[in-house]
Amino acid sequence: MDFEYLFELLCSGVVKGSIYALIALGYTMVYGIIQLINFAHGEVYMIGAFVAFIVTGVLTLSGHSGLTVLLLAALAAVIYAAAYGYTLEKIAYRPLRNAPRLSPLISAIGASIFLMNFVQLVQTPDFLPFPELISDFDFMEPISRYLSSVDLIILIVTTVTMIALTVLIKYTRTGKAMRATQQDMIMARLSGINVDRVISATFIIGSVLAAIAGVLIASRTGQINSAIGFTAGLKAFTAAVLGGIGNIPGAVLGGLVLGIAETLGAGYISSAYEDVFAFGLLVLILTLRPSGLLGKAVKQKV
């Protein structure tokens, strides 16, 4: 067996998986708090990538260096996407807070389709080339077969982001309020927590993560279009369910498992079936462990 090839695939799988994980966190956090699958989350990710694309175009013309441009573009993407996440919740979900659970779900699908077509209309339905902003680092030369410089940055950024998120949720005042809201919304209200504000914060944080993922993927694949949110959203959703939706470490694990399974399947069998492996794995896990890898079984009183 060719171990080198296996290692190559594993590395690529981890990189892919960590981006899935970043998007999956947004799904899982929102689900954890208001039990809603935010189908428009993938679109927020796509919008993040587009904002980065536009800002990059402007800044490159003014002659800044690659890394500065990338940082500024990412910052713009994050702020823009956060605004989108916040507004999306206000317009599409908040009015339906007390409606039956199916209503916000339909609203989410509607918002997703709307945003996708909106970007298609005001930008373009075609693929756009995303500029290569990260030049290859010299020290990466010996292992560039396994890990490119972009991959390295992706791994660093995702790791740092996830650690920051963990600290935020565990130790900050807002994080505690988020956990309390997740565990018992009415009691959180009675303890004086403004639950609406906590929900807004959750959407903002999720959107920030999605925008970061958008910029990272765009610089890895080198192209974007208005439909990338759909596929990435679906994959990340799969990752969230795989790990146990509502469970934050689960989303990270699910993302990694999904990324690795996909690359292994594509590398050993056929890359044409990449998506089949991803969703086949989902079917398998849901059959054997319906609550996901780390999810707890929900006991329902009858």
Binding site: T172, R173, A180, Q183, R189, S191, G192
Partner: protein, 267 residues
């Protein structure tokens, strides 16, 4: 801010709540003054918890008024307000069926109560600003002090779901006190407690009133506890108020005896 004794804190008048065609509470009215412990008693299903839910903003009452007079503040009509706004104004409560945050530690549960009295944001936390650090320290200190008061300081880092029943009830009280209330609503705090625990609770409630300067409104079935600590008692049956008075008056009130023991049979 401490209220002067005898100052009116809460006024409920003409309070009614309908669920569909069912009138769960009907034209209830009562008052609560600073420094008082007042009990709301009555048989199961009398509507006592519904009264609490109307006062704390979980339900919006069908009719009537709930007005609070925060000490040193202006009087506010609070029906229809959101529960978190009411809590911020200075009213806190506990539940009959304990509602702690099970996957948080004992200390964190109390710290959640401080949420509405603190204001540092995510940005403050990221910058680790002086304000957020000072606030965090104050929150932890105050929470520890409250845990000491209810006797739970040594289990501060346990998950709240691992506590005994009686300890969970005391933790709920500590969390409620963390919101700096001037009015504390306790819904059956002695339910499920053994006589020893009930006796300790009795002392705790009286001590809290003195040390934290809160007035207490209490729903309770344990008559010994109620008669021991209450200044005044309101009695409800089938959603209506049937009596009010001091513990002694209530004990001798024929209507109350009838509600609890059934009508006397005349041969």
């Amino acid at each position: 801010m401490a209220a002067t004794k005898g100052e009116k804190l809460l006024e409920v008048s003409g309070l009614s709540m309908d669920f569909g065609g069912l009138r769960a509470i009907d034209n209830i009215g009562f008052e609560l003054f600073a420094g008082e412990i007042v009990a709301l008693i009555g048989p199961n299903g009398a509507g006592k918890t519904t009264v609490f839910n109307c006062i704390t903003g979980i339900y919006e009452p069908t009719m009537g008024d709930v007005t609070i007079h925060p000490p040193g503040g202006t009087c506010r009509r609070i029906n229809g307000m959101k529960p978190n706004s009411i809590t911020s104004l200075g009213m806190a409560r506990t539940f009959q069926n304990i509602r702690l945050f099970p996957a948080m530690t004992v200390l964190e549960n109390v710290m959640i109560g401080r949420h509405c009295r603190t204001g540092s944001t995510i940005i403050d936390a990221i910058l680790s600003s002086r304000r957020s650090r000072r606030e965090e320290k104050e929150t932890v200190d105050k929470s520890y002090r409250l845990l000491q008061k209810v006797g739970l300081a040594d289990v501060a880092d346990e998950f709240s779901r691992n506590l005994s029943y009686g300890a969970q009830r005391r933790l709920e009280i500590a969390r409620a006190l963390a919101t700096d209330p001037f009015l504390l609503l306790l819904d059956e705090p002695a339910a499920g407690m053994n006589p020893q625990e009930t006796h300790e609770l009795d002392e705790l409630i009286v001590r809290i009133r003195a040390e934290e300067q809160v007035a207490i409104l209490l729903i309770e079935h344990d008559m010994k506890l109620v008669m021991n600590i209450s200044d005044r008692i309101y009695v409800m049956e089938y959603g209506k108020e049937i009596a009010q008075g001091t513990p002694r008056e209530i004990k001798e009130n024929p209507k109350v005896i009838e509600a609890y023991l059934g009508e006397e049979v005349h041969a």
